[in-house]
Point group: C2
Chain length 133, copies 2
């Protein structure tokens, strides 16, 4: 193994305007929970806090996942792909739901044979109650 001192050196932020793609996987079920982005600071904070911090492209700021809903993501393990532009974070999803819609996973729409998308999501909370909007 190369003597890399700082794990961030293995990441390539150059392909997506200073960001890497981050995929959160439920460590208990292997389910894909959500996909978002990290800038270097978000990656460092994720490691130091042990909870996932993303970079929100829409709000243009650091996003400590669950800061509003309480549904934080505890880091269990972390992987990067062969070219270092994607991070997989296996997490313990607190509150049981990652999606802002209150569903367990953001990937709740499954393609059917007739070409339609079916909602196969598991509703965990009511977003109106959690976010008050």
């Amino acid at each position: 193994m190369d003597p890399i001192e700082d794990p961030i050196e293995a990441l390539d932020f150059s392909k997506a305007n200073g960001l890497v793609t981050a995929i959160a996987i439920d460590d208990a079920t292997d389910e894909v929970l959500m996909v978002a982005f990290m800038n270097p600071e978000a990656f460092r904070l994720t490691l130091s806090r042990g909870e996932v911090v993303y970079w929100s492209r829409s709000r243009n700021k650091l996003w400590h996942k669950g800061e509003e809903s309480g549904n934080t993501q505890k880091v269990k393990s972390l992987y990067i792909d062969c070219d270092g532009d994607v991070v997989v974070v296996r997490v313990e999803q607190r509150g049981g739901a990652a999606c802002h819609t209150g569903r367990r996973s953001c990937f709740f729409r499954k393609l059917q044979d007739d070409g339609t998308w079916k909602d196969v999501g598991v509703q965990v909370f009511d977003p109106k109650e959690v976010y008050g909007k």
Copy 2:
């Protein structure tokens, strides 16, 4: 469910220069195999062929995964996330390996407690033999 006739209408290609992120999951093991991109044509071809077709950003062309190595990805099911900019494709990975390095998954580097990345990958084929380079 909304009466969407063409499944591509649910996808949002506007956030990443005409592409959506595509995550391939091994349908048998739930393992994250690789992450790449699709443009509308790649998505349509993926559906019509039943094998995954990506858009290669580096080669700037359609990329029928496995066209060179033989390690094609048979589509088992397909999901999109809440905002429609990421596709999860659950696949049967022919040849047992998705990564160009010959490993089963591209996510073969796992972060260790000491901050180093450890290769925990499963080597399936020798890339020199498969790609002849």
